[in-house]
């Protein structure tokens, strides 16, 4: 067993040292980034069985658990951390083939976005959550600007919206602290029932807005398409694969553990459903492939939020599985699309016609991932779609089920348009040289098939994570038990 603090501490150390690495050797930063993410995965793996048994609480600075900052790593946090660091690992492999100007800064920001997201899911302290959200978003603002040109505008918009979000969140933190007298999540959860209902309502809404921005909820999500379109591919990938997952985690943590009330979950349910259908409808319109993927991500986020906020154990499990799948699939989609874009020299879908015969790996990756998202049998999306429909019918949400399926049909419409263009139309443009992405594509494809054919692989973590989320009593007991 290795101390889990290292998941945050080592990337921090590495990113502080990154400029020095750059001075030593030009190639070092990308290798260091890869090694660090790999190390994080190892640390998580080493702790796996222990966490499946019981949640680990890490007291930072040696101070007793509920009184200062502590990390809480239960099955849910472990799952999310695996997602985040796994995404970062895959994208680091992809990054080996990329050349960035100021690569030391790129990789230090990249590591910090990973560490920030990991911190978001592991922390057990409300204000610490805010700090990690800020680390993640500031790294994201900066990384977005890496593409130059239009990306400044995207970054500025995200920055302003994120700034408003952080104000809302801080207000919420202030109210909570004044009422409860503690910032520890478990202590707040323990006395949430005593808080005056009106104050609870206001505070919860403040958090809903603050964290909803990270979780890409409608109507707080209009920065997302701009950012995903303009940011470098690896950044779009980590944002949609890792950061949005951390956002969902934070949302779930706040509305399941902190303020568990059906009325708030209902808000989330409706917002998620609106996000889903709106995202799909708009994605269908897009001519720009990255923008299309961005709106599709939004829609998926909406779907996950809606399903999780059904609040039954089956639904939470389905939502979490969809979250895992979405991370895997979207990263594959983004890196394949990135290669296709650079091969065609254009983001326009029409210009990608016929690339299937030239850029085989990328086109294959795109197709497999698209089919995974659309839920073709034997791919991972099928299992989660089955679970989602099943659990939403189980919760008597007939309308939501119809909506989800309608959205799935729209999704088919726009993804297949691209796939057909890739394979069955004639090449129109001159193909440019691009990076080789065989390793990440193979790894992700294996995961897609692995989870599609043998989903039991993550059944146990999912089950435990769902159980942890549903029952906030165990969370409180684990942290406050010593008192």
């Amino acid at each position: 067993m290795v101390n889990l603090t290292l998941i945050i501490a080592i990337p921090l150390l590495m990113s502080f040292t990154m400029p020095i690495f750059k001075m030593l050797n030009q190639k070092l930063p990308k290798v260091i980034a890869l090694l660090t993410t790999a190390f994080n995965l190892l640390v998580l793996t080493a702790n796996f069985s222990q966490i499946m048994d019981s949640a680990i609480i890490i007291e930072l600075g040696g101070w007793q658990a509920p009184l200062a900052i502590n990390l809480y790593v239960g099955p849910l946090a472990l799952l999310a951390a695996f997602l985040i660091n796994g995404s970062a690992f895959i994208l680091s492999i992809y990054n080996l083939t990329q050349d960035y100007k100021f690569d030391d800064k790129f990789y230090l920001l990249f590591l910090m976005i990973t560490a920030g997201a990991s911190g978001m899911v592991m922390t057990g302290d409300l204000f610490n959550l805010f700090v990690f959200i800020e680390i993640t978003s500031i790294a994201a603002y900066s990384l977005t600007a890496f593409a130059g040109r239009d990306s400044y505008e995207a970054s500025f918009k995200y920055l302003v919206i994120g700034g408003i979000g952080s104000v809302f969140m801080l207000l919420g933190i202030g109210f909570t602290y004044s009422a409860v007298g503690s910032l520890n999540l478990a202590e707040i959860a323990a006395s949430a029932g005593l808080i005056n209902p009106l104050l609870l309502q206001i505070t919860a809404l403040l958090f809903l807005i603050g964290v909803g921005i990270e979780a890409e909820l409608f109507p707080l999500n209009f920065w997302v398409p701009d950012l995903y379109t303009e940011a470098p591919t690896a950044v779009s990938g980590i944002m949609s694969g890792a950061v949005s997952a951390a956002g969902i985690y934070a949302l779930a943590r706040i509305f399941f553990t902190l303020f568990p009330a059906q009325s708030f979950l209902n808000y989330l349910l409706y917002l998620g459903a609106i996000t889903l259908i709106l995202g799909e409808l708009i994605a269908y319109q897009q001519k720009n492939i990255k923008r299309m993927l961005a709106y599709s991500s939004l829609a998926q986020m909406g779907l996950i939020v809606a399903v999780i906020s059904l609040g039954t154990e089956g639904a939470v499990r389905a939502g979490l599985f969809q979250l895992v799948n979405h991370s895997i699939l979207k990263i594959l989609l983004f890196i394949s699309a990135g290669v296709l874009i650079s091969a065609a020299g254009s983001k326009n879908i029409d210009d990608l016609a016929g690339l299937g015969s030239k850029k085989k790996t990328a086109a294959f990756g795109f197709t497999i991932a698209a089919m995974g998202i659309l839920g073709v049998p034997f791919l991972n999306g099928f299992i989660s779609k089955f679970m989602i429909i099943s659990s939403s019918l189980n919760a008597d949400q007939f309308l939501l089920t119809v909506l989800i399926l309608l959205a799935a049909v729209i999704e088919i419409a726009y993804y297949l348009k691209v796939v057909q263009k890739l394979y069955f139309e004639d090449l129109k443009i001159e193909v440019k040289k691009t990076a080789v992405i065989t390793i990440p594509v193979v790894l992700l494809t294996l995961m897609i098939f692995g989870l599609g054919i043998y989903p039991q692989l993550i059944a146990d973590p999912l089950e435990k994570a769902a159980a942890e989320l549903i029952n906030n009593g165990s969370y409180i007991m684990t942290v406050l038990g010593g008192m």
Binding site: I202, L205, I209, P219, Y423
Partner: protein, 621 residues
């Protein structure tokens, strides 16, 4: 092991894909071998209706049983699939020489074969759904691989309709699963019978949606024309011959095994037939009429045959929907026969396309002298399609007419007769324009297709006549199916079938026809021969004729007839669907322009607005 029948083709698919990259013919050879293996091992399975196989899986907290079993019905469909696949694979060994997507073709084709066998062996909703989706997706890629640009659009329409219907199916299946705790057909049937009829009927209608789409039944038939017309030429016979039928298979499962007929037994009836069944029969009738009229209007031979497939599906649906022993047997007969003669037609057309490279009929003519065997195959097949003895097509239609007349369904009978007569019009059109008439100058040097492409056509001609004379072969398995589904059986001998108003004796008719044929042959051989003269060697009021083509009347062949239905055809259902999607798209467009207008200040406003609105909602509640 029933799983062998499913997974051997699927595994072979990937081998075929890899080998085909090295050798263009390898894929088709493997497909042929695998299909032959399937056919052989399926014959060994005949009569062993007790074989079942099941897997229990505890998946993410759901206890799921996957059930496979073989029964006469599924056996018949599996055999049909394997048999037609052999012929198509043989045919495509040569015909795919210049086909860009031949590796993709063989990959997807083998997966389709495997998943179709999976579909018919499935005894529970989930297994059925998994293989159904697999088949839909792979056939999507196959249709997309068609030559023309329209193929993409056609595939697109196909997948969207199919997927929408399949999701509806899944939803209903999961609903039943939650009530019964099992996906199996048996427990579902028990539940549906015990449940309130209204809900059961709704569920079953939803469950039958994907089958209706796949069978191309009005009003969900809009994908058929373009998909069949534009799919790769080797895939069209399978698409039209077999994949439409798998929809019928699904309908039979819904009607009998999921007790749809049992549930609606006591609802309002018309002439002893529950109204819902009558509605299905009526759908069949409408399908016959629209399919026929639209087929007559077509200038593209593959699309023409595609519409003809739609109308033939109508017969099968009528027979099954009226649910009499004769009707059911007639449908099953027609189902088999349609597979046989429709594949023949498509293969003959594929041979023509292989040589000429076009599907527009007015660009061809006079191919009879260049491709005699292809012509013979086509001729036999259209005789069967039009329902003329002594071919198999006549017998099945006769049995269906018998069933309709027996019960006195006037409208349905009229539609059936109309379809039969009018089918003559549309099948004659390609015959006359493609094979007869004047040979186009650019087709002077065309040769008959290679041997490997001839063999499948020859086999099919023989089978058409064989079943035309001995329908008893087919009736044997059909009666086993009837027995299995709990329908009364029909009396038959090897060459006769007992109808309501009398028996059909095909041997007798065959002898009469043979006698007539021999007399005609004698007359033809001994009577004075007509003299062959050159086309331009003719008298025309002092004008010299220089252009041979103007003597071949091929474009807008049935114009006066078409004019009758111009108004009807203009209001195409496709337009309706397109308007629907366009409006959906437009609503998305409006939202997009209003909400995501790139105005940062609005985005900021949204967050405050959301807070205020949710707070207000919280206040009110």
């Amino acid at each position: 092991m029933l799983t062998n029948y499913i997974f051997i083709p699927i595994a072979a698919a990937f081998i075929a894909y890899i080998l085909n990259k090295r050798n263009r013919k390898a894929g088709a050879v493997i497909t042929a071998l695998v299909s032959a293996y399937l056919l052989l091992s399926l014959t060994a399975l005949y009569g062993r209706w007790d074989i079942t196989q099941s897997f229990n899986l505890s998946l993410m907290g759901y206890k799921i049983d996957f059930l496979l079993a073989v029964n006469p019905l599924s056996w018949l469909f599996a055999v049909m699939t394997a048999a037609i696949s052999i012929l198509i694979a043989l045919f495509s060994i040569n015909s795919q020489e210049n086909f860009k997507f031949s590796s993709v073709f063989n990959l997807n084709f083998l997966i389709i074969i495997g998943s179709m066998i999976g579909i018919v062996f499935a005894r529970d909703f989930l297994t059925l759904f998994i293989f159904w989706e697999l088949m839909t997706w792979t056939s999507f890629y196959l249709i997309s691989a068609g030559k023309k640009k329209m193929a993409g659009r056609a595939a697109y329409r196909y997948i969207i309709l199919s997927a929408g219907a399949a999701y509806a199916f899944l939803m209903a299946a999961i609903f039943i699963f939650q009530q019964t705790g099992s996906f199996a057909f048996d427990s579902a049937a028990e539940f549906l019978v015990a449940n309130s009829p209204a809900q059961s009927i709704m569920l079953l209608l939803v469950i039958s949606l994907p089958f209706i789409v796949k069978a191309g039944i009005f009003p969900l038939h809009i994908w058929v024309k373009d998909a069949h017309g534009n799919a790769p030429k080797e895939f069209s016979p399978f698409l039209s011959g077999m994949m439409l039928k798998i929809g019928i298979y699904g309908m039979i499962v819904v009607f009998y095994q999921l007790s749809f007929f049992k549930i609606i037994e006591n609802t309002i009836a018309y002439r002893g037939l529950p109204l819902l069944s009558y509605l299905f029969a009526l759908l069949g009738a409408v399908t016959i009429i629209t399919g026929t009229i639209l087929a007559i209007r077509q200038e593209d031979m593959k699309k023409l045959v595609a519409y003809s497939s739609i109308s033939q599906m109508g017969y099968i649906i009528i027979g099954i929907a009226i649910a009499t022993p004769l009707g059911f047997s007639g449908s099953m007969l027609h189902l088999m026969n349609h597979l046989i003669f429709k594949s023949t037609i498509f293969l003959a057309l594929a041979a023509v396309i292989y040589r000429t490279g076009t599907t527009k009929m007015y660009e061809m003519g006079g191919l009879i002298f260049r491709m005699p065997l292809t012509f013979a195959a086509y001729l036999t097949a259209i005789i069967a399609l039009a329902g003329i003895p002594p071919t198999n097509g006549f017998i099945s239609k006769w049995v269906i007419y018998q069933a309709l007349i027996e019960k006195g369904y006037l409208f349905l009978a009229i539609a059936a007769f109309f379809g039969s007569i009018a089918s003559f019009m549309y099948v004659f059109k390609p015959l006359s324009t493609v094979f007869l008439g004047q040979l186009k100058p650019q087709h002077q040097n065309i040769k008959e297709v290679p041997l490997l492409m001839k063999i499948p056509m020859l086999i099919l001609i023989l089978v058409i006549v064989l079943f035309g004379v001995f329908p008893g072969i087919q009736m044997n398995i059909i009666n086993q199916i009837s027995g299995y589904l709990g329908i009364e059986t029909v009396n038959y001998t090897l060459y006769s079938i007992q109808g309501a108003n009398g028996a059909w004796n095909s041997l007798l008719i065959f002898n009469i026809f043979s006698a007539g044929f021999i007399i005609a042959l004698l007359l033809f051989s001994f009577a004075k021969k007509s003299k062959l003269v050159g086309l331009l060697d003719t008298y025309s009021s002092g004008e010299y004729i220089t252009d041979a083509e103007s003597y071949h009347y091929a474009y807008q062949y049935y114009r006066p007839f078409d004019r009758l239905f111009d108004n009807l055809a203009a209001k195409s259902l496709t337009d309706f669907y397109e308007t629907l999607t366009k409006n959906l798209v437009r609503s998305g467009e409006g939202l997009r322009r209003a909400l995501a207008a790139g105005k940062l200040q609005n985005y900021a406003l949204y967050s405050v607005l959301l807070f205020v609105i949710l707070a207000a909602v919280g206040w009110i509640i």
